[in-house]
Symmetry: none
Subunit: 408 residues, 2 copies
């Protein structure tokens, strides 16, 4: 049952300030090999401990569904209160966001990568020997210089790491998804990108634009010894997502350092605040911008980064770096503060995982769970229980007294 209309109908504007601090991938698991503690448990966190002692509610959140490991897209959409199964963000879009491209609703984005083709047009290396990033950049610049448009559709090309790049198609009446041009194994020719829904005029137009793009781009690459072709996958458009401000009656700002998270926040219409590089600088900027917004999304990447590396010590230190900066945030305490992750990134897994991430909620009305610290094990005992991450923002709104009573 979609409860969004119910919440919308009950939402009041109160002027309260809400802050959501995302320690990306903070959740972890306690393995024997790492002394049966998690980085959050092992970290020295005097400031977080003091916050817990001041009265917090804790719990754990399921990012998408039991057992499902989310990417950053669904993980953050859920934190922003959008059902990640309802609002899917295509891989091409995510990739484009990750490269810092600003996407508009209706844009179609494709993940692309260079490959090599033989004289008959058959793929000989699907990754073009993982060419160096500077070669990729050079080839992308060459294509971008010559191809600005296909028909009335604007084309934006952006190089990524190694053989990877992104192509963005912008114009009226475009739509994904479009099938991939990747034959998925060597020895076969490039596939033709086709509308997934053959009846959609917008998908047909998009497929045609992609075919045009190939026609213009392949001759540019033809003479290159290492990368004379390219594959396109995950060709999807950026669907219209209801604006955060209209949905929650909260004016939102994003304090994120990495392009991906800036991009995700922009998908829902948050204002991107540029400048701060460290979590301490982000909290300082939060203080300065306090009066200008109602909702602050503050993103800290390093817990995830070191989780992905399987580096327990570094992940623990990242938590400590956050903890050391926390007093800056608390100097101008928001009415409602939530600290959590978008998912878990256990060191033992070296990647995102399905384990529900711990969450802490602090407000005048959060009550106290009488726990001593904010940890995975502690959060298991909290009053919030285990719940779907998409409800976190609703609990934050409740704590901000933003909901009228339901029924008499």
């Amino acid at each position: 049952m979609n409860l969004d209309p119910l919440y919308s109908q009950l939402t009041l504007k109160t002027g309260a300030k809400l802050a959501l601090v995302v320690l990306d991938g903070v959740g972890d698991i306690a393995t024997k090999a790492q002394g049966e503690v998690t980085p959050l448990e092992a970290a020295h966190t005097p400031n977080l401990d003091a916050l817990v002692a001041a009265g917090c509610a804790q719990g754990r959140m399921i990012p998408v569904a039991p057992g499902i490991t989310p990417g950053s897209g669904p993980g953050h959409l859920a934190l922003f209160g959008y059902d990640p199964l309802e609002y899917e963000v295509g891989r091409g879009v995510i990739e484009a966001l990750g490269l810092g491209l600003e996407l508009k609703a209706g844009d179609v984005a494709a993940r692309a990568n260079f490959c090599t083709l033989d004289k008959d047009g058959l793929v000989t290396d699907r990754r073009a020997g993982r060419i160096a990033t500077d070669i990729c950049e050079e080839l992308c610049a060459k294509m971008a210089a010559k191809i600005k448009k296909v028909g009335d559709v604007e084309v934006i090309i952006k190089a990524g790491k190694e053989h990877r790049f992104v192509v963005l198609f912008r114009g009226k009446g475009l739509e994904g998804p479009i099938t991939s041009t990747d034959p998925n194994r060597e020895g076969l020719g490039l596939l033709t990108a086709k509308p997934v829904n053959a009846k959609s005029a917008a998908q047909k137009k998009t497929a045609k634009a992609i075919a045009e793009f190939y026609k213009l781009a392949l001759p540019i690459l033809a003479s290159h010894p290492k990368a004379n072709g390219f594959l396109m996958r995950g060709i999807a458009h950026q669907p219209e997502i209801p604006l955060f401000e209209e949905r929650y009656l909260l004016k939102p700002a994003a304090l994120a350092v990495y392009p991906m998270y800036k991009g995700l926040s922009q998908l829902v219409g948050m204002t991107k605040i540029e400048g701060p590089q460290t979590i301490a600088e982000q909290f300082q900027r939060y203080q300065q911008e306090y009066a200008n917004y109602d909702f602050f999304f503050i993103h800290f990447k390093y817990t995830d980064k070191y989780g992905e590396d399987g580096n327990f010590e570094a992940k623990k230190k990242a938590v400590e770096e956050f903890d050391a900066a926390l007093p800056i945030l608390l100097e101008k305490k928001p009415d409602v503060l939530a600290i959590t992750g978008d998912h878990s990134t256990p060191c033992a897994i070296k990647g995102h995982s399905w384990h529900p991430q711990p969450v802490l909620l602090h407000s005048a009305y959060s009550g106290s769970d009488k726990l001593e610290r904010f940890t995975e094990t502690g959060a298991n005992l909290g009053s919030l229980g285990i719940f779907e991450a998409k409800y976190l923002i609703r609990l934050m709104q409740a704590n901000a007294k933003m909901f009228d009573k339901f029924g008499a």
Copy 2:
């Protein structure tokens, strides 16, 4: 997914006795200001403690949805096992129930209140200076004496407190919702009550009856210096709700003192047992009626009342009053006993809240969670976890062995 057909299909009649004790608004939050304890935690509850020691399962219940604060209507419907989002009870209906009116399915009820009108019919005071209750009663009696029917529709008028009253329309083919006659600010004329669904013949008939009622009633009030008009809001009909007894195969009785809760129990077809005023008297009467019913809804108001007042000490004492009476109930122990609230009413909030209320379940099959007391913090650790309140009655039925096995 609606599981009601599944439950119905598996329901067996066992002759077990079930009792649901509702400590209205009992749930609370532990704030620093109140010594980081809740009234339930602070109260001296030797009898409840002994019950817990005898073996109970505990948990917490979400009355409607995460973050949503329910009124008494949705709160109780959920406890009676009806999805409060599926079975909405209109405000007019709740108000009528609160004044002790007995509602039948199809009745349309309106919250009304006296106002003052100037010579041009414009509203000069939307609350008629909050006239004294005896004036309200006098005016209602005057209208009731002269208006018994409008067309073939019976009219029932009942005075409330100060300027408030309720009008009930009873007859064939009536239906709400109907738009309000309240212009929402002074200086404007009364609005015409209109069908919300213009195609509904029943709503049209109801709107016409309301217009007729105004035509007859306004002249009766015309000469009154303080209250020569009235506004009608929340005009809704009492929808058909499946009967409790048919739904659960349990013959239900309600032991409630306040009209609102008697009314809510009647909406689902419980038999109202009149007489007892204190919780001890309610439990005594339960003993006497033990053989006559299978399900007892026993409602205790004061935990909510003092929560609304923000009176921690009084709320704590209300819990102790209940605890002192509990042995009377336990002298004739039901096969399944649930003790909970319809929602939380934290003293720090002085009103209903969204915090999941604690629940205790005791039966030969409840098992023991090995907790020492029944408290919010303890309930966080219980075997029932956090669940939607509408499932409580299903857990009670399960503990009464009222469900056949599903599948082989």
